[in-house]
Symmetry: C2
Subunit: 133 residues, 2 copies
DNA sequence: CAGCATCCCCAATGATACTG
DNA sequence: CAGTATCATTGGGGATGCTG
């Protein structure tokens, strides 16, 4: 059984190896999505079930129309979200998580839990750090 | 027992609630660190044990000195990394993960595993998507 | 060795207006 | 309703040179 450190070592070696190899690192690749401003928020919103374009916009009011369109297209391109056009008038387009997109919820959930469980300690550390200056 | 979707719903509700509340969202806060270019790479590098400044720089050659300094300071400020100055000549400074920093490795590891396990499907999806244009 | 200070650039995001 | 197109902004990050 691997402990945290050994596991981390394996990860970092793969990470470094991928970075050194030709082509971009898969971890970097995925992390870029995790880190961007809207991708994960949309994924988590869609985790509740399929939604249409403006329905998503209402659920996430802060996002601009441009970024909503763009982020959805990127998620679709990566196979995390599927897009279904209904030939009604006016048009109706539904977005939903693919199986792959759905599978991301679990590992991402661990991160959310860590964030919610650690934020108090982080903020306390920041306060201490800033007070020391 | 909660399934993925219900769990996601709870997360997203907390997320949205935090966004609506005064002050920034803890998830957003943590995600910004996860997503930035160097934080997690340094955390994973330090997971192997304490390292000095230039030792870290050699381990992660791509990072600029400026960003190494800045990222380490931010990690220290958040209480993820501790900094130990040895009064030698020339000076020697050692960085190591705190207990909090170490605790991040586990949930982050799940994400790395997902990334490594999903990258083939993602790239295949991208290829399909681009071919359809 | 372990930084700090400056200048600079570009890619990500936003604001606004228009459309099938 | 579900987008597209264009312009403006900004701050993350790199390059370089200097220092205790």
């Amino acid at each position: 059984m691997l402990d945290g450190v050994e596991t981390a070592q394996i990860y970092i070696e793969r990470w470094a190896a991928a970075a050194g190899a030709t082509g971009p690192c898969p971890v970097r690749d995925v992390l870029d999505k995790i880190g961007d401003k809207w991708s994960m928020l949309l994924v988590m919103t869609l985790a509740g079930g399929p939604k249409r374009f403006n329905e998503l916009h209402r659920a996430v009011p802060d996002i601009s129309q441009k970024m909503l369109t763009q982020t959805l297209r990127d998620l679709q391109r990566d196979g995390l979200v599927s897009r279904h056009v209904f030939d009604t008038k006016p048009p109706s387009v539904e977005y939903r998580l693919t199986r792959l997109g759905h599978s991301l919820i679990v590992p991402f959930g661990h991160l959310i839990e860590w964030a919610n469980g650690s934020i108090r300690r982080i903020e306390a550390a920041r306060k201490d750090f800033d007070a020391a200056r």
